[in-house]
Symmetry: C2
Subunit: 349 residues, 2 copies
Amino acid sequence: MDINITPVKTSKIKDIDFSNLAFGHVFTDHMLVCNYKNGAWEAPEIMPYGPLSFEPSARVFHYGQAVFEGMKAYKDEAGDLFLFRPDESVKRLNKSSERLAIPALPEEIFHKGLAELLHLENEWIKPGKGNSLYIRPFVIATEGAIAASPAQEYKFIIICSPAQAYYAGEVRVLIAEKFSRSADGGVGYAKAAGNYAAQFYPTSLAHKEGYQQIIWTDANTHEYLEEAGTMNIFFRIGDTLITAPTNDRILDGITRKSIVQLAQDEGVNMEVRDFSVKELKEAARSGALKEIFGSGTAAVVNPIKGFKHGDEVFELPEVTDSFAARFKDKLLNIQYNIEADPYGWRVKI
Amino acid sequence: MDINITPVKTSKIKDIDFSNLAFGHVFTDHMLVCNYKNGAWEAPEIMPYGPLSFEPSARVFHYGQAVFEGMKAYKDEAGDLFLFRPDESVKRLNKSSERLAIPALPEEIFHKGLAELLHLENEWIKPGKGNSLYIRPFVIATEGAIAASPAQEYKFIIICSPAQAYYAGEVRVLIAEKFSRSADGGVGYAKAAGNYAAQFYPTSLAHKEGYQQIIWTDANTHEYLEEAGTMNIFFRIGDTLITAPTNDRILDGITRKSIVQLAQDEGVNMEVRDFSVKELKEAARSGALKEIFGSGTAAVVNPIKGFKHGDEVFELPEVTDSFAARFKDKLLNIQYNIEADPYGWRVKI
Ligand SMILES: Cc1ncc(COP(=O)(O)O)c(C=O)c1O
Ligand SMILES: Cc1ncc(COP(=O)(O)O)c(C=O)c1O
């Protein structure tokens, strides 16, 4: 596979303040672009990051045919570069694509294209636990025609944004009682662009009440806890860790499945099962609820300090032996090549 | 309100075969573009139709913040131009926008901008019942940052595509039993881009079985009939016409509400109520089911010849006094200024 590379004349890296990065606002010097046309993916190209030209009739603008992934590249103290479970990302991208009637991307284009791009952006990846390069691969329908049917032309693009350790501040969440994120038989399990915009308005209402995120419940009954905006959710009751099973409404998070595995292997009582709002509130009242945390590539693990359901507000206790802190640390140590990785999750590139 | 107009040097209209137009593939000479920046909509511009430049990090590509409308302009034999219920379109656009956390567009920009654009494209609108100019207003999030939150920058764009009378061929439909289109508390009632891509894959599976469309059922039970891809659905049992009530899962179609009104005013027994698959199948078996038809701006009214549910296949009878034909004709006559319009739906521009 040939990748045509057009490097930038001058890097903009010297203008970037790496100690003050807002998430997803700064992009590196290059991007990868690969076109799908006449029934096939063409050779990818790496070119200077910058605006691209699109027909105003491009299908992505009208019918939302768009899927994405989120990954990170990590650098250890020796300067080596690593990805975390990249196979899972490309598989999930293609699973998302299938649901949105987007042609599958050959895995080789993804893996080789990404490796090539990251080597070019090596300087942008800073060592140090917490520093990383956030990677955004995505596929969009570019064909310029507004017939309501799958497009014949697509672009697969990878852009990269340097990121610091993500501290979201104290996070409190609303539990959804009216709005919902996805339906059975819908596209909730896909990283489909439309799933995210659909959450912005309910989340903005939560912000007004002083809550940073929403924990979505099943759309049928609003009785079972599912996931948050860009995080799966774990609950710790006593020393038992609980997370919802994945299904066609819930994103099969890579951080989630890694934590489930770690917890099982460390002998934690790990339950993957439906978990109801009722059970959560009872545990909160009895004092059995020790922790709630979200899991996702951006924040790794995000502790949740409190939640609201109906008129009831709950605040979580301080814990000294936090599972959130323990699994976050374990994952970071694997990602940054600080600890051995018996799973083969860390991939040197 | 000032609209800056940059006309094309030469129109491409002479290259267009108006007797052979595939839906949504040919666009007129101009488009309207209006930017939202720093908390306000700027003055709209009319410029030659053509590609626009977008950041690859534009939020529409990643999080699907995009809504649209679909309208038509009609020309009568005297050469006058008309729209059908344009107030409903702008109101629905802003209702869709609110749900996707997109700032509302001032109605004046919509109405004046569209009128100005259509006068410029007058030649593209051919008289004759069935000929029209399909109008696609849409709003997309353009800000170049991939934070998962509402964008700070948007574009409102209107593009136009000449259309002929739409004949979809014989349409048979599958009734959804597994896949679903939208959830209670979701975005189904909005013309949100992501709602459409989500239907492409299930619809492609229906195609493989020889069905052109899917009639969506409620995501909870799959027992109640809702709407099709871009059409609301009517059922005629004996001389009673039935359509589902709108709710937060179903698009409040302008054609639908116009037919409901016409049917009521013509003394048809018009029932707006939940209608179950069970009731439909019983009526099909007893012979009471006379017609099924879809309603929407593109096709106006689209008769459905048959349907499948589970393993059961049903074929509809030929009717001589078709409600579908009657209401289609009535609507077209109002739209093309052939009949009096007691409702004030037809708006001369
Ligand atoms: C809806 C949703 N849930 C959960 C996650 C977490 O998935 P992962 O751990 O693979 O990043 C994401 C993505 O980041 C997401 O978008
Ligand atoms: C999902 C959906 N249902 C129904 C309709 C019909 O609505 P209208 O009659 O306003 O065109 C449309 C739009 O065309 C639609 O997209």
